[in-house]
């Protein structure tokens, strides 16, 4: 298993992912977006940050990168692809995931810990975790997922909602939703299941020192290659 960690101008979480994969003993390489060639890799990470300064819209300029075409090709071939935070925004802008991420409804940048329930285990990053509660950090100002009613109904019925914000007891309440996201959606997968986007940061909770280890439960699943 060799993981590509994409780096755009303004990405800030690539080293956190590299650190996580080092701890997990998973081979990885940080790959500059403009030279992205995912041949020879078994999985790809689109990390968080502020690619291109979030100018115009979060992820809007990054989607024009050559890396997008590479991600589309690899996604179609079933490669596990994880986008976190700005990576989730890029995957939505690039059309690899449905809907869009907009300003948090309360307009605040939210830096906090959240709980999520794993709603779909049909992804390489949530296998065997169905129904589990995960606690992870968030740090974003534009994490409110929106889509038209038809898209929302489609992703719900197809089981594409992979992660939902819940409280500590597992209830998807208004209070548990940190950004106003539609239906408390924290993470979405594509139809095939190999592409997952989420606003929280699994790479930032992989050792006790960081206040939590639930991110490890997702990232360590990459140790065993899977075909979806």
């Amino acid at each position: 298993m060799k993981v590509a960690i994409l780096l755009y101008p303004g990405t800030w979480s690539e080293r956190d992912f590299a650190h996580a994969f080092t701890l997990l003993d998973i081979e990885h390489e940080i790959v500059w977006h403009a030279d992205a060639d995912l041949h020879g890799f078994d999985a790809a990470i689109v990390p968080g940050g502020f690619s291109y300064g979030d100018h115009l819209r979060a992820g809007a300029i990054a989607k024009l990168s050559p890396a997008t075409r590479e991600l589309q090709r690899a996604a179609a071939e079933g490669m596990p692809i994880l986008g976190s935070c700005n990576g989730f925004q890029i995957l939505c802008e690039a059309g690899l995931l449905p809907g869009a991420l907009v300003r948090n409804t309360h307009l605040e940048f939210r830096c906090d810990w959240v709980h999520m329930r794993v709603e779909s285990d049909a992804t390489p990053f949530t296998r065997g975790l169905g129904g589990e509660l995960l606690r992870m950090p968030i740090a974003h100002g534009e994490g409110c997922w929106v889509a038209d009613d038809e898209t929302l109904a489609r992703v719900e019925s197809a089981g594409q909602v992979a992660l939902r914000y819940v409280d500590e007891r597992g209830a998807a309440t208004l209070e548990a939703n940190p950004n106003g996201s539609t239906a408390n959606i924290a993470g979405l997968r594509n139809e095939a299941g190999n592409v997952l986007g989420l606003m929280p940061h699994p790479e930032r909770c992989i050792e006790d020192l960081l206040g939590g280890t639930d991110g490890r439960r997702m990232l360590e699943l990459l140790r065993e290659p899977v075909s979806v």
Binding site: L56, R57, A60, I61, L64, C92, E93, G99, A100, V102, R103, N104, T105, H106, L107, V146, A147, D148, G180
Partner: protein
């Protein structure tokens, strides 16, 4: 080729919440205005060359579709200025 100026107005679709607009509405009410609703958006002014007005409009449309607006959440309109060096 003549120069054109395209002013592209981007705004959130009607059904998409505009929290920035809501905050501005609250602030305007605090100033004493009886404001019913505020919607915010962006104005993007692009100066470029094109063969003629039809080509300029086509180019501005493509800019809007491919980058300047996200059709999932935003609508946009184009105002095309007359060529500067006609």
């Amino acid at each position: 080729m003549p120069d054109f100026t395209a002013t592209i107005h981007v705004r959130p679709k009607g059904e998409v919440r505009d929290p920035q607009g809501e905050a501005v509405a609250g602030a305007l009410r605090a100033l004493g205005f009886e404001v019913a609703d505020v919607r915010t958006g962006k104005e993007i002014v692009v100066r470029f060359s094109a063969a003629d007005e039809a080509a300029a409009r086509e180019a501005a449309r493509t800019m809007g579709d491919q980058l300047l607006a996200n059709p999932v959440i935003e609508d946009y309109t184009i105002e095309l200025g007359a060529p500067a060096s006609a």
